[in-house]
């Protein structure tokens, strides 16, 4: 992106003043280098978002922003229903409630290194990954509806995990306001046999070691120390969420004109929050959030099962579970008034600062853990929300490295098997059914995650707590 087209407000804040159909400014948080790497489309898309009805304050792009559908990935926008605000299926994305759950293991690198290979094999055996994989369960119609209403709580009630897991999941693992009746049969059919599966693409499960601590007291509160082993799960609402995205994107695009919405681009398909279509989407989207919660909860159970025979007695506890593709109702301050807003985060992570009531009690004084997925060869991060991100970005931060190379470019440059050998030499074991899938997800195809989290910290969106590097990666 050409930096001349932006006004630099401060080191990491770049602004586009309202012009044309824009109702509010667009603000991009990034270093100059990250801005230069961003596609021009990010600018075009964030400007379009700023033109949607009922948008409050500004349309934001996070440091890892890249070209998405309608909204950029790494986009944040909040809408006021009282001012004709909209909800957008494209503003949430296809993979509804995709997110990261990190598990503490109480183990150190020394405990895991001698059994790394068997642990990798055990995880790969236990956790269904990749195209054509199926979960252990096949849900009936009524079970599907119960899962869509109950989320991770439903999974725990069925014996997958513990009550303690729920206290460390956003919304305590159950999103209220879910409407299974708003979810199409197509969406339900896609999910019937997919519970507890990882999926493919950029989704993964990693065993990681803590290589660096940036904030000792926050790390202490989160229960992480240098050399600790943690497990991170990155996946979402699977086929169900994809189909809900598909169904509502189409319906919203067709109906927009009936609602008097002039779309600058059909990809921005949206409906007024206070409309039957808007409400129906919100109900279906919340059901998909529950599906993602339940999915990560079942995978947590499978991870525990996979650890048990290899490292008997290991106790895996949830540090936190946070989504990065959602629309949530939240209270935020706008022009000195508290307002109830519908905050879209697409490839952006909620990042509540200290003392926010929505954060798990044990972590509340410290702030919400913000879990950032990297690539299989580089690093991931645990960040913490800051008080000031409320002012900057409706308490939102980045979500990952963000791609910088297309899948086709990546497969031209890397071969899956060679890449797996190279990573193995560096002590990183990859288990995947698809070598080409691994090549498409090559670490070099992504932006520098270190630069992304540093920019987020400098911009005040969140603060670094710990850096994680992979030992094992199960890739779909």
């Amino acid at each position: 992106m050409d930096t001349n087209s932006l006004q630099r407000v401060s080191g990491e804040e770049w602004r586009i003043e309202p012009h044309g159909k824009m109702r509010v400014p667009a603000i991009i948080y990034a270093t100059e280098e990250l801005i230069r790497e961003m596609d021009e489309k990010v600018r075009e898309q964030i400007v379009n978002v700023a033109s949607l009805p009922g948008i409050e304050k500004a349309a934001y792009a996070m440091p890892d922003a890249h070209w998405g559908y309608g909204f950029p990935i790494g986009g944040v926008a909040a809408f006021d229903p009282a001012r004709g605000g909209v909800v957008s299926a494209g503003g949430v994305g296809f993979d509804i409630s995709c997110g990261v759950r990190t598990l503490l293991t109480g183990l150190t690198v020394e405990d895991v290194e001698p059994v790394k290979r068997s642990l990798a094999d055990s995880l790969y055996r236990h956790i269904p990954a990749g195209v054509g994989s199926r979960g252990l369960l096949e849900l009936t119609d009524s079970e599907l509806d119960e899962m869509l209403s109950g989320g991770a709580q439903w999974a725990v009630n069925r014996g997958y995990g513990t009550e303690a897991d729920l206290t460390r999941t956003e919304e305590k693992g159950r999103m209220t306001g879910a409407r299974p009746d708003a979810v199409s049969e197509f969406a339900k059919n896609r999910q019937r046999r997919e519970m507890g599966t990882l999926g493919s693409g950029n989704h993964y499960l990693e065993v990681q070691r803590v290589t660096e601590i940036f904030d000792v007291s926050a790390a202490e509160a989160f229960g992480i120390h240098r050399n600790n082993i943690v497990v991170s799960i990155h996946c979402g609402s699977r086929g169900l969420g994809h189909q809900i995205g598909t169904d509502f994107l189409r319906e919203m695009a067709i109906q927009a004109k009936n609602y008097g919405i002039d779309l600058p681009d059909r990809e921005l398909a949206c409906a007024p929050i206070e409309s039957s279509l808007g409400e129906k989407y919100l109900g279906a989207m919340r059901a998909a959030i529950n599906c993602a919660f339940a999915n990560r909860q079942i995978i947590t159970h499978l991870v525990r099962q996979a650890f048990a025979p290899v490292i008997p007695g290991a106790e895996l506890a949830v540090l936190y579970d946070v989504s990065h593709n959602t629309c949530k109702v939240e209270e935020h301050q706008v022009d000195g008034h508290m307002k109830r807003l519908f905050v879209h985060r697409k490839g952006a992570t909620r990042a509540f600062g200290p003392n926010h009531p929505a954060v798990a009690e044990a972590l509340r004084a410290t702030g919400q853990p913000v879990l950032i997925g990297g690539t299989m060869g580089t690093a991931s991060y645990i960040l913490v929300g800051t008080a000031e991100s409320e002012i900057h970005s409706f308490s939102s931060s980045c979500h990952g490295a963000g791609r910088q190379m297309s899948r086709a470019q990546a497969t031209k440059r890397w071969r899956g098997r060679e890449l797996m050998d190279e990573l193995a030499e560096r002590g990183i074991l990859i288990r995947s059914p698809s070598p080409r899938g691994v090549a498409e997800e090559a670490p070099g195809a992504y932006k520098d995650v270190n630069a992304v989290v540093e920019a987020s910290e400098k911009a005040g969106l969140s603060r670094r707590v710990a850096k994680l590097e992979p030992l094992i990666c199960i890739k779909g």
Binding site: G130, V131, G132, R190, L249, E267, S406, R407
Partner: protein
């Protein structure tokens, strides 16, 4: 005019699929081959099962999206992969047939699941050679 063919085009995080042919129908068929090629080599798919798709939509572009999404649904819900396609287009109406088989991870080495066809770069139009081009970006 040229032989019907397909290609992929670049999109930041995902993949653009494009079908090209002397008729709109052939462009739709080729777009489906391009979609399958994101997942596996369509030439290695045995044509054992037939799936029939019927859709109605307000315009050709949404019809294309619906056609591709119907195939994505079959791949996801019924674990199918396809190797051959036939499309008939009427007024706002599509009747399509797809032939394929159950995915075999060893043999097909499927790369990635496709989540959905999108409005991004979605178009159905004739190019300067008078060939029909049907394309969009799919989210993977």
């Amino acid at each position: 005019m040229n032989e019907p063919r397909w290609e992929h085009f670049q999109h930041g995080a995902d993949v653009g699929i494009r079908g090209i042919g002397p008729t709109k129908e052939e462009a739709f068929q080729q777009a489906a081959v391009a979609l399958m090629a994101v997942v596996t080599d369509p030439e290695h798919v045995a044509l054992k099962r037939e799936v029939i798709v019927e859709r109605e939509a307000p315009d050709d572009e949404i019809l294309l999206m619906d056609w591709l999404n119907a195939l994505i649904y079959e791949m996801s819900a019924n674990q199918l992969v396809f190797g051959s396609f036939d499309v008939l287009l009427g007024d706002h109406h599509l009747q399509g047939r797809a032939w394929g088989e159950k995915v075999d991870v060893e043999r097909h080495e499927p790369v990635v699941e496709v989540k959905g066809a999108t409005f991004t770069a979605l178009s159905v139009a004739q190019n300067s050679n008078r060939d029909w081009v049907a394309q969009c970006v799919v989210d993977v």
